[in-house]
Amino acid sequence: MPGMWWVVGALLVLGLVSAYLTWTSGRVQRLQVRADSAARALDAHLLRRAAAAAVLAEQRYGVELYAAARIALDAAPEEREAAENDLTRQLRAVRLDPDDAACAAVIAASRRLALARQVHTDLVRDARSARSRPVVRLFRMGRGREWPRYFDIDDPTVVPRADVTTG
């Protein structure tokens, strides 16, 4: 009965297609969840750096650095990238002595922030490229979740300068 083979064949194809779609949808979900986690970690590291900078500003360097740290802590989402870049510029302008506790905290926080930023950028790129695939768009697999956003800031790494005394 050739008709039955058609049915079996069609069912087989249907099964394969649905397995592929389930797998793809799981993959998109997973990447999306991971990008969201990376964004939370990045947010925490931004707060930590700003807090460390504020402590340093209170001990020395004063008003300008403190203001930059405060603005970074309080910035609205749409102004945050600019505020964080401004804080990076302020931190680069001051002398950071790795032997001083407050300076060392800022240096360490900046280094961890640089890593968090790098990982976040990679994971957002993975998630976005998965979501922009035609089959994902066609079946609207990412619906209910916002597209992961890049957080576009300059490299926050600061170079410690041990050879100069802090003032």
Binding site: R27, L31, R34, D36, S37, A38, A39, R40, A41, A44, H45, R48, A108, R111, R112, L115, A116, Q118, V119, H120, T121, D122, L123, R125, D126, A130
Partner: protein, 386 residues
Amino acid sequence: MRIGIVCPYSFDVPGGVQNHVMDLAEALLGLGHEVSVLAPADEDAPLPPYVVSAGRAVPLPYNGSVARIAFGPVSTARVRRWITRGDFDVLHVHEPLTPSLSMLAVLCARGPVVATFHTAMTRSRVLSAAQGVLRIVLERITARIAVSALARKVQVEHMDGGAVEIPNGVTVAKFAGVAPLPDWPGECAPGAGGTLGFLGRFTEPRKGFPILRDAFVALAPRRPGLRLLVAGPGDADELYGRFPAELRDRVTFLGLVSEADKARMLRSAHLYVAPNTGGESFGMILTEALAAGTTVVASDLDAFRRVLDGGRAGRLFPTGDAVALGAALTELLDDEGQRAGLTAAGDQVVANFDWPVVARRVLEVYAAAIEATDGRVMDQEWAGLG
């Protein structure tokens, strides 16, 4: 932290990646972490206690050389079992884009995965052909490390992703304070004496041995007592055949040396010469020479310039220029003060490449990968980063 490291190549054969994995594992253990390394190995091979065997490796030609790797259903089962039993906080795989244990581990893993890329594969045809499969592997990696600027560049250009650049480490303690070979390095005074060192395959054009030979042949007749110490694989007759008969007794060939003798050999020279013409992605040997406290003279390659801090920690000469090399050698052999200055700067530079320091930077990447997986930030103390 509980750390699982996967090495794709068998420990039976020495190699850069294997050495890197062992040194990293030992440095992490030294910092108080729990480490398990999964690697292919023969059942009866003697292994360090922290290494778990994943079975025998089979030789397979890959990317222009022969890699001994393990791949297939049996290996997959072992990888799965090791991951389940290990209950790792983070999984660290090396070279995950070759079909190997590392790739299997990435595909089996659920939690945070850190990957280190060693080779700078500039031929990207293999990569672009299997882009779909590699995509799936790359997607499961949380954070990437590249050991050289070149390896990082390949990441950025061919696999659209960034990578944190963390150089290869060197165990400074293994090189510093080792006794030189008996009767070496000998006298070195203005106008006379001095020992030049070279380590590597002298027949390989990229190592640039002919440039050092030309400089030595031009210099030796004018400088009594100048000697050349060569170590590395190759045939002694072939090496001596490259020198005029009257200079042959001033060339000493050690052949292939062990890791311990390598340190002694490096300390037996006044100047270590790296005349490479290209292809060196990092310049491991330079950090080793610096750790041994030997003054380095190297060609002006990008990788070498970075290791030598732009020439502060060692002398750079225009790549391939034997005359310039000769002039630099004469100047440094005549001037002990200048050698001491370069060596002192070298000590500072090499401190950044010491394994415990490098391992702490790797730990920070582990922390970043774990944080990106569950979104919570960990304390310095918890991660053992302090």
